[in-house]
C-alpha cells in the first residue's frame, strides 16, 4: 500500500491548491451570491482547462480514465476553500452515468470536458429522501417512437446552471435514467440557493418529450449505474469535507495563537488545546476512513462492498465534520457565527455536504439492509 500521492495526483493537488488560493477568496465567494445561477463562469472555465472535468471520463471518450483517488485529491483541495462549483454533478455523477450509458454520449461528454455543458441529476422526490427503491412521482410513458416524462423532482443540485438534467423515473421496463436538455418544452423549474451558496431547483415535468436514445439506461442497469454514480458522488463529498476540516485545523490553530483574552493568547488555555486535539483526532480518523472507501471504489469490489464502505465512511466523516465544524466556531467565539470569518462558511458547507447525498440516518439504515 502507498498513501502518498502519485505524480499525477501531486500535479493535480498542487495546481488545484494554487488555483483555489488565487481565485476563491472569502470575498469572491460571498460575491457569487449575487450571480443569478450561482455559477462562477471564470472559475468553471479553469476547471475545464485544467482537465478536472475529464478525470472520470474514459480515455477512448476523450478523458483521463482517472480513478476516485484522483478525484478525491482534487475534491479535498476544493473543500479547503468551500468551493461550491458544480463539480460533483458535472465532474463525477454525469461522467459516470454518461460513460456507462447504453447509447453513446460522446458528444455531450466532450462538451462537459470542455466546460460548455453542465449536467445535474434529478432524483429526490417529495416525501422521498436520499436513495430509495423506485421513483413514484416521476413516470416515463411510451409515446410514438419515444416517451413522455411527467412528474416532480426536488432538490436537484446544481440545476440552475445546468444545460442538461439526468432524471430518474419509473418507465415501462422499471427504473430508467433519462437525459433531458434544460431548455426542453414542458419543464418548469423553481430555483433556490442553499445555505452554502450552492444552487438547486425543484423541477416539474409536464409531458416532456423524450427521444428513445435519451434513455441512458433502464431496469437493473439503470439502478446499478445510479448507485455507482451516487456512491462516487458521496465519496467526493466526503473528500471535500475532509479538506474542509483540515483547513479548519489551520485556521483555528492560527487564531488561537493570535487572539488574546485574559492577558494571553487563548491557545494557552488547556481546555482549548484539548478541543484542538480532539479536532485533530477526528480529522485524522476521517481521512483514514476516506482511504478505506477509496480502496473499495477503486479496487474492483462488489456494489455491496462499496455500499458498505461508503456508508461506514459517511458515518465516520459526518461525525468528524460535525465535531470539527462546531468546535471551530466555538473556538472563534462570536466571530465564528458571523459571515465574515471562514469558519462559518466551512460550517455551512459541511452541513450541506452532510445532508444532500444521504445523512447519517440514511447510511445507518442502508448498512442494516446490506
Amino acid at each position: 500500500m502507498d498513501f502518498n500521492r502519485s505524480d499525477l495526483q501531486r500535479m493535480l493537488h498542487d495546481s488545484a491548491e494554487r488555483f483555489v488560493n488565487e481565485h476563491y477568496s472569502l470575498e469572491h465567494r460571498r460575491s457569487l451570491r449575487a450571480v443569478q445561477d450561482g455559477l462562477d463562469t471564470a472559475g468553471w472555465e479553469t476547471f475545464a482547462e485544467l482537465g478536472w472535468l475529464a478525470i472520470l471520463v474514459p480515455e477512448e471518450l476523450g478523458g483521463l480514465s482517472g480513478c476516485m483517488a484522483d478525484v478525491s485529491t482534487l475534491a479535498e483541495v476544493l473543500g479547503s476553500r468551500c468551493v461550491t462549483d458544480p463539480f460533483i454533478s458535472s465532474g463525477v455523477i454525469a461522467p459516470t452515468i454518461l460513460s456507462g450509458a447504453s447509447t453513446s454520449q460522446e458528444d455531450l461528454l466532450g462538451e462537459i470536458v470542455g466546460g460548455t455543458a453542465r449536467v445535474a441529476l434529478a432524483h429526490d422526490e417529495p416525501n422521498e429522501r436520499y436513495a430509495y427503491s423506485q421513483p413514484r412521482a416521476t413516470m416515463l410513458a411510451a409515446s410514438g417512437d419515444g416517451y413522455t416524462l411527467s412528474g416532480q423532482k426536488m432538490m436537484v443540485l446544481d440545476a440552475p446552471s445546468a444545460t442538461h438534467v439526468i432524471v430518474t423515473a419509473t418507465g415501462p421496463s422499471g427504473a430508467a435514467l433519462v437525459l433531458i436538455p434544460m431548455d426542453a418544452a414542458g419543464i418548469t423549474t423553481d430555483a433556490y440557493a442553499l445555505y452554502d451558496g450552492s444552487r438547486a431547483a425543484d423541477i416539474h415535468f409536464d409531458g416532456t418529450s423524450v427521444a428513445a436514445e435519451a434513455v441512458l439506461a433502464d431496469g437493473d442497469a439503470a439502478s446499478a449505474l445510479l448507485s455507482l454514480a451516487l456512491d462516487r458522488a458521496r465519496v467526493t463529498a466526503l473528500a471535500q469535507a475532509v479538506g474542509s476540516m483540515e483547513a479548519e485545523l489551520d485556521i483555528c490553530s492560527a487564531y488561537l495563537k493570535e487572539r488574546e483574552q485574559f492577558g494571553q493568547p487563548i491557545g494557552k488555555f488547556q481546555s482549548l488545546q484539548h478541543i484542538m486535539a480532539e479536532m485533530f483526532v477526528e480529522t485524522h480518523q476521517a481521512r483514514s476512513i476516506l482511504y478505506y472507501a477509496l480502496s473499495r471504489l477503486d479496487g474492483g469490489y462488489s456494489p455491496d462492498e462499496c455500499a458498505k464502505a461508503v456508508s461506514l465512511a459517511a458515518l465516520r466523516v459526518s461525525q468528524a465534520a460535525q465535531l470539527v465544524s462546531r468546535q471551530a466556531i466555538q473556538l472563534h467565539g462570536g466571530y465564528g457565527v458571523t459571515d465574515e470569518y471562514e469558519v462559518s462558511h466551512h460550517y455551512r458547507r459541511q452541513f450541506i455536504l452532510e445532508k444532500t447525498l444521504g445523512d447519517m440516518d440514511y447510511f445507518t439504515r442502508r448498512l442494516s439492509s446490506l
Binding site: Y130, Y195, G334, E340, R348, Y362
Partner: protein, 400 residues
C-alpha cells in the same frame, strides 16, 4: 419535600392562555413562529409590549410600585411559558430585564420617571453595549472610555454584538470612567441616545443570513452626565446584579420546550420510506434522551424558582442551567435539521419574499428552522462561553 403543584397555578395558566389568545394577532404569531433569528421583529416586540402594558402585564416581574403585577416566581414562570408556547414576540429584554431593573434599583427618581414608563409601554427599542471586540469573555477589560468634561461625558470606543442597535432609540453602555483603578472598579453604566452625533452602527452579517447584531462605534460622543445610572464606578456591580437577578433565564427553558414540541410535530409529518420519522426506532431513541434532558432542565429551573436549599454556591447552579440549556438549544436544533434532512439545506428564512413563491412542496413550518439552527451555534458562546461557565462551576462549587 412537596412536589404538588398548587391548583391555583393551573387556573392562572388558563387565565393567561385566554388573554394571550385574545391579544395575540395571528399574523404576529406566524411571524414569530417562522422567525429564525435571536430577536423578534422589533415592531412586533414593541406592539406586543404595548398590548401587554394595556393589561398591566408588560413588566410583571417588576416591583408593583414600578408597574409590576406582584405575581409569584411561579406565576411569572407560567406567564413566560405561555407567551413562548403561543409564539408571542419576545420582549425587549434589554429594557424589561436589564436596564429597567438597574434603573429602578439604582437610578435616581428623575431617571426612573424618564425611562421606566417608556420601557413598560414599549415606546422604543433599547440595545445593550457591554461587549467589545477585544474583550469577549473577559468583560472587565473593556476599553470604551467615557471622560467627564463639565456636565457631559465624552465617549470613545467600540462595542460589538449589540442586538438591534440599528433599530434602537437608546442604548445602555458599560464604559470606563476611571482608567487608574483596577479594571472592575472603573466602570460605569451610561444611557446613550443612539442618534447622538458620533454614534455609528454597522450591522454584522451573520451565519444565518441575519444582520441583527451590530458593531457600535463611539467617536467623541457627548452624553449628558445625567444619563449616568447610579454612581460612577459602580457599573460592574450593576452588571453582576443583573446576573444574580436572572438565574433561570440562561436555561432557555421556554424556547427549548417549544422547539422540542416543534421537532415532535415535524417528526410526525416528515417521512422516511413512508413511515413518519417519529415512528422510527432511531429517532425514538434520540428523542427520548432529549426529552429526558429537557425534563431534567425544567426541574432544575423549578428547584431554582422554589429557592431550594443548596449545598453549593447558587451561582454554580445558574451556570449549570446555562451549560445544560445552551447545549440543549443546539441539540434540539440539530434534531430538527436531521428530521428535515435535505430540505434543511435550503436558504429559506422568514420573512422573505421568496417564501410566497415556494409552493406546496415547502410547507410554511420549514421557514426559519435552519436559520435558527445555525445561529444556535452561538448559544454556547454568548453570555459567557461554555468554557467560562465550566470554569465558574469548578471554582464556585469545588474551589478549584
Amino acid at each position: 419535600m412537596d412536589f404538588h403543584q398548587d391548583p391555583a397555578i393551573e387556573e392562572f395558566r388558563n387565565m393567561v392562555r385566554c388573554v394571550i389568545a385574545e391579544e395575540l394577532p395571528a399574523e404576529m404569531a406566524e411571524r414569530q413562529k417562522a422567525h429564525g433569528g435571536t430577536n423578534s421583529v422589533v415592531a412586533d416586540t414593541l406592539a406586543w409590549t404595548g398590548k401587554m402594558n394595556a393589561r398591566g402585564w408588560s413588566v410583571p416581574h417588576w416591583p408593583v410600585e414600578h408597574g409590576g403585577t406582584g405575581w409569584s416566581a411561579m406565576q411569572n414562570y407560567v406567564f413566560m411559558a405561555e407567551c413562548s408556547s403561543a409564539f408571542a414576540p419576545e420582549v425587549c429584554w434589554g429594557a424589561t430585564h436589564m436596564c429597567g431593573p438597574v434603573i429602578y434599583t439604582f437610578g435616581s427618581e428623575e431617571l426612573k420617571e424618564r425611562f421606566l414608563p417608556d420601557f413598560r409601554e414599549g415606546k422604543y427599542y433599547i440595545c445593550q453595549g457591554f461587549s467589545e471586540p477585544s474583550n469577549g469573555s473577559d468583560l472587565a477589560r473593556l476599553r470604551t472610555r467615557a471622560e467627564r468634561k463639565g456636565d457631559k461625558y465624552v465617549v470613545n470606543g467600540q462595542k460589538i454584538w449589540t442586538s438591534c442597535a440599528h433599530e434602537s432609540e437608546w442604548g445602555f453602555f458599560l464604559v470606563r470612567t476611571n482608567p487608574d483603578v483596577k479594571p472592575q472598579a472603573g466602570i460605569s453604566f451610561l444611557m446613550i441616545k443612539m442618534d447622538t452625533p458620533g454614534v455609528t452602527v454597522r450591522q454584522i452579517p451573520m451565519i444565518n443570513g441575519d444582520a441583527e447584531l451590530c458593531e457600535v462605534f463611539l467617536d467623541n460622543v457627548e452624553v449628558p452626565a445625567e444619563n449616568l445610572i447610579g454612581e460612577e464606578g459602580m457599573g460592574w456591580t450593576y452588571a453582576k446584579f443583573l446576573l444574580d437577578h436572572e438565574r433561570t433565564t440562561s436555561s432557555f427553558i421556554f424556547q427549548n420546550k417549544r422547539e422540542f414540541a416543534r421537532a415532535q410535530r415535524l417528526a410526525l409529518r416528515e417521512t422516511i420510506d413512508g413511515t413518519p420519522i417519529a415512528h422510527t426506532a432511531q429517532f425514538q431513541q434520540r428523542m427520548a434522551r432529549i426529552e429526558a434532558e429537557l425534563t431534567a432542565l425544567e426541574w432544575s429551573v423549578l428547584r431554582e424558582l422554589a429557592n431550594e436549599d443548596f449545598k453549593y454556591d447558587r451561582t454554580a447552579a445558574a451556570s449549570t442551567l446555562k451549560v445544560a440549556g445552551s447545549q440543549l438549544q443546539q441539540t434540539i436544533s440539530e434534531l430538527q435539521m436531521d428530521i428535515l434532512g435535505s430540505k434543511a439545506t435550503r436558504f429559506y428564512p422568514y420573512p422573505q419574499k421568496d417564501r410566497e413563491d415556494a409552493g406546496p412542496l415547502w410547507p410554511d413550518d420549514l421557514g426559519g428552522r435552519t436559520a435558527q439552527a445555525l445561529i444556535a451555534r452561538a448559544s454556547t458562546i454568548y453570555g459567557g462561553t461554555l468554557q467560562v461557565q465550566k470554569g465558574i462551576i469548578a471554582k464556585l462549587a469545588f474551589g478549584l
